[in-house]
Symmetry: C2
Subunit: 513 residues, 2 copies
């Protein structure tokens, strides 16, 4: 393929070297490697009950693979009991778990900038931004349909966010671009405006194939390297639709990673109880991951769990709730027992504004995600209004809070310097530590410091306009976008990508459905 | 004492019965008993190092007991090496820990309404409101010096808050009352406007004695029952002042509980490292608790740790930070190894407003407090601006979030009903759970529901004025204060308390220092 050649040319090209020399280096933290334990809220007996029940669900109730005759045949060949008319697959006890064994416990997702590559699994935590909202909101323009221009801004903010490891996927829906061509513009933005890892399209199998093709251009051939982690939602309860499975098949065949994720509003798509929801989540993930391994044994997949609860008064989904936390903790244990990387949590909120509600709910979920052992956290910043809105201010507010997770995950330094006995001796009773030698040697790195929040004395703060967090965040958005500079990319690669997108767009009429 | 008689009369009096019949019953959750584990971030080796280092601090550096010759004599008699001129006490390795053994692992703090009594220690968590701010803030009046009228409102809000178990102490400083008489009005408010447990005064030993005397009136004699938990701060680093120790002595002698609490802004009153701060915290608590047991073996005390970090750019204390969380987790482990109840965490924030910053920082600390095994959480609601301000709106916002902690602490119901296999069978692939029998039977209690936050559809919310959390909280404050009704109290007891306060006030001139 010409695109691959274009990519390979980049490695030694003078243009690429010139582009690299002129590029601004943006600070980006490495993905989190936890030095603290997970919170294990279920004991072994409870876990065994849930695992037994999940196998019962698979064996007796089964799952539906709809509009996907090939999938039904695959399942039959693997030993499942398949009802072709009902599209129902009943999976004998133990079979799905057995099939899951070929899925890797962790994998590397390569970024075009090797410093930005991430390992998904183990003790790690990779943070990725909000995914999917059709609306955006900012302090100036309020709430409105998202456009490609908004999309570009979010990719730039993600690139500029120190604590964000991943550029994500549909950071907002560019509703001004035809539905059947959006994925091309979105991928182009992630590939050219950022050098962090990104997600592929899942809205049609053909768009997944385009994602693979564009990645081949960007990377100069993939040769089975994993360069995308994409989001495959399960139609909970217990249903796998043909489009999502088609995309999964494309990705698995190309050794690209997929999050196999039940999408659950508890009380609607799953039972109102935590243990019942965990049972269903496990059954769904077992079936989905097993299916990925039927397509290609060894394909990288993630145990996903998008779980929230419902307000039984209004039917609205609710976020940052204790029931969602309990499920997230429990599902983490189930994922670890299955030996799979785990995706859950995010800066979730039902609030319409980036206000205190948004922050309480988001902080509840972010903290829980760290302690639940999540390995891949989508929606880690920018989510607002139950996922209907990508908020510019909340993006930078949440992204700043992700620094808290990094420092918490680092655990406690028990070195001689950490023990600080010299400092305690030097200062003694009634003294203070501000000027002591140990403080002078350590203060720069001792404490996490927000780059958004207000630490000023009351009087200074009042003189400067008594700004609330939204106003501070708005200033931060403006600053990051003003400071943004595009990361270096070989012009030949960018040209090849541009050509690919232009040819694809020209090959089909616009569709807005 | 006439007051005691007055109290005893209450038990059988017709007036008391009439008062009880006419009272509105306010819903109040029982204190939390955790059904989830604590997060243990330090391993045994790290804990042993910190414990060893703390003993080294006590033995080699020592602690100061200032302006308190009696305390120095007590320490000498107990076997410590005392420098009377320097007021320095060096405690031989192991002695303080040995003395701590007589302190109870848990205790009951009785409330005048027995349903509101709390157990402090074990797997429990008792939640108490903000303590100490000289200012108040509300949406209408902004920031201003606190008055007794504000104090009364906060006590009423605490009484009306379902998830708050404790009425607290100095919910704000009533700055319009002379300093030497404030404690009388504050105690009167807690005793008459609420029936939840409360804290005593610590600002002078004589005020602690007044607190005990008024409690004797309220309870009709104490007879060693513990009815107060009061806050004894250590002057970190390593200094115990005569006033606080004097108050501690009064309370210990009366078998009233005290929180022995280092007050640490890391980098100023303790080393900038987590392990160093934990070492100092443990040394200080060991010395303080040991001292309480020298005054009265068996006196109930709490291992306290008020810990925050400092912004090294400005010197301002910062809240909800990862370093403070690490210290709080570690100190919880140290407290459990010492066999003492543990006080830490709170709805801390440095923000000037009840905005997103306030909520992020508070949620970080509230979640951490639950998982760190805190048994008594002061400042669980209402804290703003680094503790300078008690905020009416934040009080109800935080108090609402305390419901999240209750539901999270309940853990996962693994009963047959919790497992919900019937529901999964009934609904099957592609169905929904909203109408199924299991949902109908469980939905009322299945999910925690906020009484402050917004769960409405966007359009409804916009029509109703697009209110942010502060506006919603303001409405909640108004509603709770409008709904408030004083809990029943025998008029004879109230009269006796009023008499006591009047006599005490008349006995001394006003002092404002």
């Amino acid at each position: 393929m010409s695109e691959v050649v274009g990519g390979r040319r980049a490695r030694g090209g003078g243009a690429a070297r010139r582009a690299e020399r002129s590029a601004v280096r943006i600070e980006c933290a490495r993905f989190i490697e936890r030095n603290i334990p997970n919170l294990e809220i279920l004991d072994d007996e409870a876990l065994a009950i849930i695992e037994h029940n999940a196998e019962t669900v698979l064996e007796e109730i089964g799952v539906n693979f709809v509009e996907n005759p090939e999938a039904l045949k695959r399942w039959q060949a693997a030993g499942a009991d398949v009802d072709f008319e009902a599209e129902r697959v009943r999976i004998p006890r133990g079979l799905a778990r057995q099939l899951c064994k070929t899925a890797p416990a962790s994998y590397v997702q390569h970024a075009r900038n090797p410093e930005r590559s991430v390992t998904v699994g183990g003790r790690g935590l990779v943070l990725a931004p909000v995914y999917g909202p059709p609306f955006v909101r900012d302090a100036d323009g309020g709430r409105r349909y998202a456009t490609l221009d908004d999309f570009h801004k979010f990719v730039k903010l993600g690139y500029m966010s120190k604590w964000l490891h991943h550029s994500g996927g549909t950071v907002c829906e560019p509703t001004d671009v035809p539905v059947n061509k959006r994925h091309l513009d979105m991928l182009m933005a992630h590939m050219t405006l950022s050098d962090k890892p990104y997600m592929g399209s899942v809205t049609e199998p053909s768009r997944a194939a385009d994602s693979v093709a564009m990645s081949e251009i960007l990377f100069g051939g993939l040769e089975d390297r994993t360069v995308m982690t994409s989001l495959i939602n399960i139609n909970s309860p217990l249903t796998f639709d043909g489009i999502m499975m088609g995309a999964l098949e494309v990705y698995a065949r190309a050794n690209q990673a997929a999050i196999i994720s039940p999408f659950i509003v508890g009380g609607a798509m799953a039972p109102v109880t935590v243990a019942g929801t965990l049972t269903q989540v496990l059954a769904e993930v077992l079936a989905g991951v097993a299916y990925s391994q039927l397509v290609r044994p060894g394909a990288p997949v993630i145990f996903g769990a998008f779980v929230t609860s419902i307000d039984m008064n209004s039917g609205a989904p609710t976020f940052g709730t204790p029931e969602a936390s309990l499920i997230t903790y429990g599902a983490g244990q189930l994922a670890r027992r299955l030996g799979l990387p785990y995706r859950s949590a995010g800066a979730f909120t039902g609030s319409k504004l980036p206000d205190a509600q948004a922050a309480y709910e988001s902080a509840n979920s972010l903290n829980m995600g760290l302690l639940a052992g999540v390995n891949f956290m989508l929606h880690a910043c920018g989510w607002l209004e139950g996922g209907l809105v990508s908020s510019f201010e909340k993006f930078v507010m949440d992204a700043d809070q992700l620094g808290v997770l990094h420092h918490l995950a680092a655990g406690i330094d028990m070195s001689e310097n950490g023990q600080a006995m010299d400092a305690i001796r030097e200062v003694g009773p009634g003294g203070h530590y501000l000027g002591c030698a140990h403080t002078q040697a350590n203060f720069k790195s001792a404490f996490w410091r927000s780059e958004v929040l207000d630490y000023k004395p009351f009087e200074t703060w009042a003189e400067e306009g008594a700004r609330d967090t939204m106003a501070l965040a708005r200033a931060r958005v403006d600053k990051l976008l003003a400071d943004y500079q595009k990361p270096a990319l070989d012009p030949a690669v960018e040209e090849a990508l541009t050509d690919f997108v232009a040819r694809k767009k020209a090959s089909m009429p616009d569709a807005f459905m």
